[in-house]
Subunit: 600 residues, 2 copies
């Protein structure tokens, strides 16, 4: 059976030492979040996640959700765990104090999220979706809507959903057909079918509040004719108690590869009463303002599963006795050596460790800038921070989930055949991680976002928010003897990224398919460079601190950094070559020839 220990040492390292998390306390709204408060919250989060959520992870996967007579039942123990979770205030961690929340920085929230995803990603979907609904109403709702719904979300007594896609849509929300008919009062009648609605129906809360994209009768065609509505399962009374049942029902729940304890519902809206959120026909822009946060949240899911898989793999590698070290027995008194003596097992572990810790740093850097973008005093600082968040969001989402899935698979590989057995808990990580590459925009869509929207925006301003600090770091450390290997490796990989960027900007202007054909490789190249930047910074710190450190933490950081530079970062060389090869071999294949070899 897998185990989990909250990686608090590394979380403190990235927050307090590697990045300027502590500077967030200088922002008025975050003044309470001093280093000791951060550590205390992390410790408490570590407890509830490892002690309450983690023990329900495997059983929740085994049991799954069940639908009976329109009611969805979550697995055994989930309701009790959810109550403990809400009573601990975790549903309001990042919410505004005026609605009962604790107003914590996103940076802290992200680290807590990681622990939730490591220990029970399926459970995390329920409060996670509520946070999305909170954000939607907080950013776009009326004061009355805010006053009604937000305190309920913070308490956790009502939960939320995001009802976007429909069977014919997928990513293309311009194809939405759900209708909203205006009523004599200020309400609307919503009719249509939504699919893939996470937490659409469940037994954890007294009410479920759906945020629904639909078309008004006079709506323009396509993406510009979509409005956002709030549609509660039970209509709220004036005193914020729940009133009569609304015309929204769960038609079925999906049988999925993973996150089986998270209900994924087909939701039928049948003349359901709803209210407009924000302006008519502006539903998509309301969605877009939240999408960045949601995508970062999915990246964190990948990170959390990567960490869990690493811990699972490491435990097993230390305990499992099999074979002998290639240079002779290391534990001659035992029947066999533990498999951590084998180079290939170590390589898998270090791949997981270097990617997971690197992505943790990259995600936290993004989160800190998310906080600064919203709360910093100076407009220039806010913009610079937001620029960085814009460019890093698709990276954290795609690179974070690609590598989380990789780590989950390497974890299974370390277990050998036992990794394939349900009871050990490792194969669940693979199945759970697989969804993160698909939802909130597939990873291919993220790559298009990076290359199509983010790369050229404001004449490359978003990119510069990332390129400049990296370039500065290289220059600052160019003469630092002990940093030479890292600076050379970073400069080389960064050079590839800059060159690819320049060439793709030119080619993409001439032919958008050229940008599209390179997009995934480009994002992957970008992700490797971004994580290399984090590791170079970590290495510099580690050089300074390792001699005074009896725990070996910094020495381990330095060795992991070196592994990343020698055995992971070289992937940029292939990615660069593939990008340079261009899109002709991709676009030149006639559609009918794809199937020519299959034909009889």
């Amino acid at each position: 059976m897998v185990t989990y220990t909250p990686p608090l040492r590394d979380m403190r390292f990235v927050y307090h030492e590697l990045l300027d998390g502590d500077a967030l306390a200088e922002i008025a709204q975050y003044a309470d979040y001093t280093p000791d408060v951060i550590d205390a919250v992390l410790e408490e989060a570590g407890k509830i996640t490892s002690e309450v959520l983690f023990p329900l992870n495997l059983s929740g996967d085994t049991e799954g959700c069940t639908l009976k007579n329109g009611v969805v039942y979550t697995p055994k123990g989930f309701k009790e765990a959810y109550d403990q979770f809400t009573q601990g205030g975790w549903t309001g961690l990042a919410a505004a104090p005026e609605f009962g929340g604790q107003g914590a920085p996103a940076a802290l929230h992200f680290l807590v999220q990681e622990m939730i995803c490591s220990t029970n990603m399926a459970f995390g979907m329920y409060p996670g979706l509520t946070e999305g609904a909170y954000n939607a109403i907080n950013l776009h709702g009326s004061d009355k809507q805010k006053a009604l719904y937000l305190p309920k979300f913070v308490e956790g007594t009502w939960s939320g959903t995001m009802c976007l896609t429909e069977p014919q849509c997928g990513t293309d929300l311009g194809l939405i057909r759900t209708k909203a008919g205006p009523q004599p009062d200020d309400s609307y009648k919503i009719t249509g079918t939504k699919i893939f609605i996470s937490a659409g129906e469940h037994d954890l809360t007294e009410n479920i509040v759906h945020l629904v994209l639909a078309r008004l009768p006079d709506a323009p065609e396509g993406i510009k004719g979509i409005s956002l509505f709030v549609v509660p399962k039970f209509l709220p009374n004036d005193d914020a108690t729940v009133g009569p049942r609304n015309g929204v029902t769960c038609g079925s729940i999906e049988h999925k590869m993973g996150i089986k304890a998270s209900s994924t519902c087909v939701m039928n809206f049948d003349d359901a009463t709803g209210w407009l959120v924000g302006l008519p026909h502006k539903g998509m822009s309301a969605m877009f303002t939240m999408m960045n946060t949601a995508r970062l949240g999915v990246g964190i899911q990948g990170l959390g599963l990567g960490e869990a898989a690493y811990q699972g793999g490491l435990d097993y590698a230390k305990e499992r006795l099999q074979g002998r070290a290639l240079k002779g027995a290391e534990s001659p008194d035992k029947p066999a050596d533990s498999i951590i003596v084998h180079p290939d097992v170590r390589k898998n572990l270090l791949t997981m460790k270097s990617l997971t810790e690197g992505i943790r740093a990259l995600s936290l850097w993004t989160a800190i800038n998310l906080d600064k973008a919203e709360k910093s005093e100076g407009a220039a600082e806010r913009q610079r921070a937001d620029d960085l968040v814009q460019v890093l969001t698709p990276i954290v989402k795609s690179f974070g989930t690609d590598k989380g899935f990789l780590a989950a698979n390497l974890g299974v590989q370390i277990y050998g055949g036992h990794g394939y057995i349900h009871e050990h808990g490792m194969e669940q990580y693979v199945r759970d991680a697989r969804i993160t590459m698909l939802y909130e925009g597939t990873n291919g869509i993220q790559a298009l976002d990076l290359i199509g929207r983010k790369m050229g925006a404001h004449y490359g301003r978003y990119l510069r928010a990332f390129f400049h600090p990296l370039q500065e770091f290289i220059e600052e450390n160019a003469d630092n003897e002990e940093m030479q290997a890292f600076i050379l490796g970073l400069a080389k990989a960064f050079g590839r990224l800059q060159q690819a960027t320049g060439i793709l900007a030119q080619r993409g202007l001439r032919d958008p398919n050229e940008a599209g054909a390179a997009a995934t490789d480009y994002l992957n190249l970008f992700g490797h460079v971004a994580v290399a930047f984090m590791w170079a910074k970590a290495a510099k710190l580690a050089f300074n601190k390792k001699d005074a450190d009896p725990t070996g933490f910094y020495s381990g950081k330095l060795k992991t950094a070196r592994f990343y530079y020698e055995r992971v970062l070289p992937e940029t060389s292939s990615l660069f070559a593939m990008i340079m090869a261009g899109g002709d071999s991709i676009m030149g294949m006639e559609e009918e020839l794809f199937g020519a070899a299959v034909a009889a």
Copy 2:
């Protein structure tokens, strides 16, 4: 729902055109296997797999196997399908005519196996394990054992298993504890517990014949003290009917990530009667002689699932309407374009197609040489063929399954969120494919086999069996104008492989951990070069034939070859750099530092 069409056109291409499959008919035992017979068998195999096995694939996964009172029930329809399968003679396709088999070449058998794995890999485990047992007894059993068991295996009325591992063993079979006590007659009493026994118990056949590794009382410790026994579920009467039940029972079946319709059993042997197969203490060498074939079979599983996933992804990419082509609508009359217009979707499809077809060619080349190694007249020719099989076996197993798993995942990616839903059938391919990287020796073990056993054997003779024809091809085509891009790309990648081989041979002598730390990357580099060789040969044929071909088949081949060279093969550049970086960063990390970041 996914569909499947047997890729007969490509199978005929690799067998008759690309490779010298037809030359096998010059071998006396294969004289019947003329081109038209090959095609007829492929066609029939295509029918039974697509019409009988494929419709049971998803339902078999949903239902799984059940154990009640010691009896394992396979999913609904499996027994009827199995009876059709045996009545069609498929259980005896590659078996010797003297035991009722059809004596088909391994090359044909492999192509049929691919179709079985594409359509119902879990079903294929039952006859697949029987073939393993057939080979064990055929190669090492007494004449009496052969006469008793082999006709039953060929008929399919009795099935077989391979009982190797135990809870404490995994790959390290030296740790086996199962005991065999000699009896006054020529039998033994077998006692012990075996795990992960595929087809260990089921309801498809009247008897199940276990091939069991166990220790005789006087056995030396470790790997050199293991003997092989045949232990039938029901003791055979002299007239080859089934007699009394033997002391072997199924204790439990595993809950697995995939291949759920294949029973994976814990088998308890409790004073079970068995008979020695081959010589005392020589069980491991008996196993080794079969292991190559078994490993190739697992590679074919990866290939089969890759093909199935490709077809699933291609269907969906053509049918699914969503978004618009980047350069403007391609189907303006429809609400959206089909997603195959998008470069990233095409890139995923071409990655799957180029790897699957390339690995099909590589596997068939291996299979043809397997036939030549066993049946060719000249000893030199047999040895050259066997050398090639030796070196290609770990490649087909690991590269084939790594890329099969990749293809299964790309297939899901093309489906987007729908790929995560069980009913569509795509996520099953991922779960089924995952085991192929683990069993018959994890892919890491294959890499050690390549670099540790195969690379240096006979002063590099195995390697030369691959390097020489590749080198000759490059030289022969050096002046071929239209082949320039392929020859240059192949020579460059081959140069990397040769250089890596030379350096690793040196480093590995000095420090075996250096070889171990490079093994997986080296195998991956080797696999890319081997598939590049297949594609270069295919491209040469396609250049010659495409103008006279109205179907576009050769044009498609040429374009797929180009894609492989431009967008897949460059991975060799990274792999080379990672190998060159050496193993210090892997072996230099102290065991306790792996967990330093996790600590509180």
